[in-house]
């Protein structure tokens, strides 16, 4: 079965979405990621969606949900690499993803996670 790989990177988890996101895949990712966060005691999650060029309201809500779940499990989520077209679509859909942290690329996302965790500690 198709799965989105979740990589461990210190206390962070790195998720790179490189295939077309369909609803089932998104649900699997939600399951896998929450399991991994609690198993690895991860403090931060970085979701790279730079390869994603089509979103719908379901996927948009999914991203918001994952971030919310991670927060409950005491991990910060940063979404990085969103394409302009995706950003415009989400805004037009009325899903500005309040409460989800964003960064331009993985590098900046990593820095942001580090900074937020330091601020919390």
């Amino acid at each position: 079965m198709e799965r989105i790989p979740i990589l461990k990177f210190g206390t962070f988890l790195l998720v790179t979405i490189q295939v077309d996101m369909h609803d089932k895949l998104a649900l699997t990712l939600q399951d896998d990621l929450t399991n991994r966060i609690s198993k690895e005691r991860a403090r931060g999650v970085l979701i790279d969606i730079s390869a994603l060029d089509v979103v719908d309201s379901f996927i948009g809500r999914m991203i918001a949900n994952i971030s919310g779940m991670a927060r409950v499990l005491d991990a910060e989520t940063v979404v990085v690499g969103m394409r302009p077209s995706v950003a415009i679509t989400l805004v037009e859909l009325g899903l500005p993803l309040e409460g989800v942290h964003t960064a331009l690329n993985v590098e900046k996302g990593m820095a942001l996670l580090q900074k937020r965790l330091e601020a919390r500690a």
Binding site: V80, P84, I88
Partner: protein, 294 residues
């Protein structure tokens, strides 16, 4: 020879009279006031007239005289398209362009009259048919002329849109988008796209939208601005809105627009200062610098 429109002698007449008609017509056009020797050379006019008459003659042999939208008339239509487009570009007025076809009437009617002298009924019928045909072709010329003008207008509109939304890099990591003029949905779309694209290209972390040049802010414009800010945030960059004039600040509050957590500054300079602070840079006045003369 009774092809084309049944009973009409126009196709046959056009064929036998083509040469004489061309000579009359060109003479007519050259004498007319609607002819512009400054915009179109005589040889070109002669070529166009010859090509049009040949196409008209060929189409009249095959197609119906009362329907110029059929496949038989495609060559004629194409020719008229070219002629009117060329004239629209050269600066002819619509009337002068239409006269190209309409000026054929007089020489054509004169020929008809001399050919059908013995049969007044036929003359009246054929004149009517010829009028209808040439009017239709004249109208077609007008439409083509109008269309090419509209293409020009559309292109200029697009250029204006692109011209009016420059995204400038103020500092490393800091972009500025000075907006001038009224914001409507279409323009906001272009603004949003060019800003987001520039953010990707330069990986800037702060964008300053300066609305000093926006004359009025209503709820729609405010909504457009908020959308742009939200999209920028989703990309992972911060947005500051600057250049809010006192009057606009009043309007925003009176309208009940909630700018939420968007950072707003009165001037671009203030916004730039905040942006520098956030990116960890600072501008320091060098005390050793010589005092300015003023």
């Amino acid at each position: 020879m009774k092809q084309g429109a049944p009973g009409s002698r126009i196709p046959a007449l056009l064929k036998s009279l083509e040469k004489d008609l061309l000579a009359d017509w060109v003479k007519e056009q050259l004498a007319a006031t609607s002819q512009r020797p400054d915009l179109l050379k005589e040889s070109e006019l002669r070529d166009q007239s010859r090509a049009f008459l040949a196409a008209l003659q060929a189409a009249a042999q095959r197609g119906a005289l009362d329907d110029v939208s059929g496949a038989d008339w495609s060559a004629v239509r194409e020719l008229l398209n070219d002629v009117s487009r060329q004239r629209a570009r050269a600066g002819f007025s619509p009337g002068e362009t239409a006269m190209f076809v309409l000026s054929l009437k007089q020489p054509f009617f004169a020929r008809l009259r001399s050919e059908l002298k013995s049969d007044p009924d036929a003359l009246a019928d054929e004149t009517w048919r010829a009028t209808v045909l040439l009017d239709k072709l004249g109208l077609y010329t007008m439409e083509a002329f109008q269309q090419s003008r509209e293409e020009v207008i559309g292109r200029q509109q697009k250029e204006l849109l692109e011209l009016s939304t420059p995204v400038v890099e103020l500092w490393e990591d800091i972009l500025a988008l000075p907006l001038v003029g009224t914001l409507d949905s279409e323009r906001t779309q272009v603004v949003m796209e060019s800003l987001l694209q520039k953010i990707v290209e330069s990986s800037a972390s702060i964008a300053i939208i300066d609305i000093t040049g926006v004359p009025t802010v209503d709820t729609l414009v405010a909504q457009h601005l908020l959308k742009t800010v939200a999209a920028t945030r989703l990309m992972g960059a911060d947005c500051i809105i600057s250049g809010i004039r006192p009057q606009i600040a009043q309007t925003i509050v009176h309208l009940g627009v909630n700018l939420g957590e968007v950072t707003t500054k009165a001037s671009l300079a203030d916004a730039f200062k905040v942006a520098l602070q956030r990116t960890g840079a600072s501008v320091v006045r060098n005390s050793a610098a010589p005092a300015r003369a003023d």
